[in-house]
């Protein structure tokens, strides 16, 4: 039972990550490899505020969002002028920088040792002590994030993002300030990734840089490539599939020393098959080009 609650908690966290990355990849057509960096920034800012400055969880969460959004501006203002592959490389560079900082800035982040004993989150006077109560909280947060991202995607703002995805020059020629829309979309995605980071930190009560690596960014991207982009159902389908798949494999009785590698192989094969036979993903409406 506890294990099932753990899986559901992780699904809630990854749903926020996938839905927010979808705003960049599926709506705006920006392939980002730095989502785990913002996920980590959220987790670290929240944890440090709670531990070093005794902030309550919710204010720490809000400041984590503000921090991630501010950092996103520093990155997006120079790099969003880049297009296509060059933006992918810029986001990759940022991801590597963030990991290096988290790993090497030992005095602040405790480097590879990570931060442990993060206080249990307390929300509106209620301390979330059990996995069940935390699941209720993480599901509510994921639902609120999903709802907001859905509304943003359906709004005229989302429509302009989709137009930018289709043809930047045409969108600009119709008076839309493309670089500004991209900066805002990047900031929104960063802010929501930070929310996922705070929920993750509050749930595990231990974080270290290995949770926020390039591999993690690629995993989040894989979720939305497999599930599909450009709508809400694709990322949610991808999240459920990619997080439940290892659990399904565990029932096959595969030895522990083989299982993790086999999981990676299966992810790889899935991505190849989907790219070949259903490039828009299982439930997506947009095919990244």
């Amino acid at each position: 039972m506890t294990y099932a609650l753990h899986v559901l908690n992780m699904i809630s966290i990854y749903a926020i990550l996938a839905l927010s990355l979808n705003l960049l990849v599926g709506y705006t057509g920006l392939l980002s490899l730095s989502h785990a960096a913002f996920y980590g920034i959220g987790a670290y800012i929240c944890s440090l505020l709670m531990m070093k400055l005794s902030f309550p969880f919710l204010p720490a969460m809000l400041l984590s969002i503000v921090g991630a959004v501010a950092i996103s501006f520093l990155i997006s203002l120079p790099s969003l002028r880049l297009r296509g592959d060059y933006f992918v490389l810029a986001s990759l560079g940022f991801q590597i920088i963030v990991f290096s900082v988290l790993y090497n800035c030992v005095e602040l982040t405790q480097g590879p040792f990570g931060i442990s004993d993060i206080p249990r989150p307390s929300v509106f006077g209620l301390t979330l002590t059990s996995a069940g109560s935390y699941l209720a909280f993480s599901v509510v947060v994921a639902a609120v994030c999903g709802g907001l991202l859905y509304l943003i995607g359906q709004s005229p703002f989302g429509r302009v993002l989709k137009a930018i995805r289709e043809d930047e020059i045409a969108a600009e020629s119709l008076g839309k300030r493309v670089s500004q829309f991209k900066v805002i979309a990047f900031a929104i995605a960063a802010g929501f990734a930070a929310v996922a980071g705070t929920v993750f930190a509050g749930y595990l009560r231990y974080i270290d840089p290995t949770s926020f690596t390039l591999v993690e960014s690629i995993f989040i991207l894989s979720i939305i490539i497999i599930g599909g982009t450009g709508n809400v159902t694709g990322p949610l389908t991808g999240t459920a599939l990619m997080l439940l798949l290892p659990e399904a494999l565990s029932f096959l009785g595969i030895p522990d020393n083989i299982a993790p590698n086999l999981r990676q192989v299966i992810y790889g094969v899935l991505i190849i098959l989907i790219m070949r036979y259903r490039p828009q993903g299982l439930m997506g409406e947009y095919r990244y080009q």
Partner: protein, 251 residues
């Protein structure tokens, strides 16, 4: 004063002069045409006006204000819109969304407003729906609102791109080969729309290779050759010029 003016504009790509000291003036309420052989610099002139290129020398003026060096979105917001030669509709957006996104000053284009003033944005969207349907009817695309733009024929995509420009309420319309590759019925529709917008006081500039269209629908023609404006004036007079006949019409 002309609505749009290019003064001694030059555009060099490396050592090649795509536009070489061109001066053109386009008046309000008139259809002007840029004609000339391929490589004469016509599309480069459009790129210079719409902000996709910056002049190497010279300036572009709109309503007397310098707009050269402006980003394309600023040129567009000032009131200069463009129909591209390769149409550039938003393929995976519906016909309705293609037109809806072109309206200026939408509150819902702010991500924050789309959340905190959701009801106001919804009301604005409802109003837009009606205007989009009117516009689509005027270009002959009524009933196609929910189809993806990619599923329209090439001619229909041109009509959709025109509807987008009309939605954006541009004062100057740059139409790059609006009738090329389009069946005669749609050519008539496009020209009818051009006449209508010009009658409404707008300025239309077209790049056109169909000389019948130039003779019958254009007020002023500019013949371009090797990046220069070689000849300009009333279309029949321009087309009758010996230089135009030999360099362009192969007569």
């Amino acid at each position: 004063m002309s609505k749009l003016e290019l003064q001694n504009v030059t555009k060099a790509f490396g050592g090649v002069l795509a536009v070489d000291g061109a001066s053109l003036a386009f008046d309000e309420g008139k259809v002007s045409a840029l004609i000339g052989p391929n490589g004469a610099g016509k599309t480069t002139i459009f790129n210079l006006i719409s902000g996709l290129l910056c002049p190497t020398e010279g300036d572009v003026y709109y309503d007397g204000k310098k707009i050269s060096g402006f980003a394309p979105w600023r040129v567009s917001q000032a009131g200069v819109g463009r129909l591209f030669q390769d149409v550039r509709v938003f393929d995976r957006l519906t016909v309705r969304d293609n037109v809806s996104m072109a309206f200026k000053g939408q509150k819902g284009e702010s991500a924050i407003m789309s959340i905190i003033k959701r009801w106001q944005v919804s009301r604005e969207e409802k109003e837009l729906r009606g205007r989009v349907e009117e516009l689509l009817e005027s270009v002959g695309l009524a009933g196609r609102e929910d189809e993806l733009a990619v599923d329209l024929s090439y001619g229909q995509q041109k009509l959709l791109a025109l509807a987008r420009l009309l939605a954006a309420e541009m004062d100057v319309l740059l139409l790059d080969e609006p009738t090329a590759g389009v069946n005669p019925r749609m050519v008539d529709k496009i020209l009818e729309l051009v006449r209508k917008v010009v009658a409404g006081g707008k300025t239309v500039i077209i790049i056109e290779h169909n000389m019948n269209v130039v003779r019958e629908h254009v007020d002023v023609a500019f013949f371009m050759n090797e990046g220069r404006v070689a000849f300009s004036g009333e279309p029949n007079a321009v087309l009758a010029a010996p230089q135009v006949k030999t360099a362009y019409l192969r007569m």
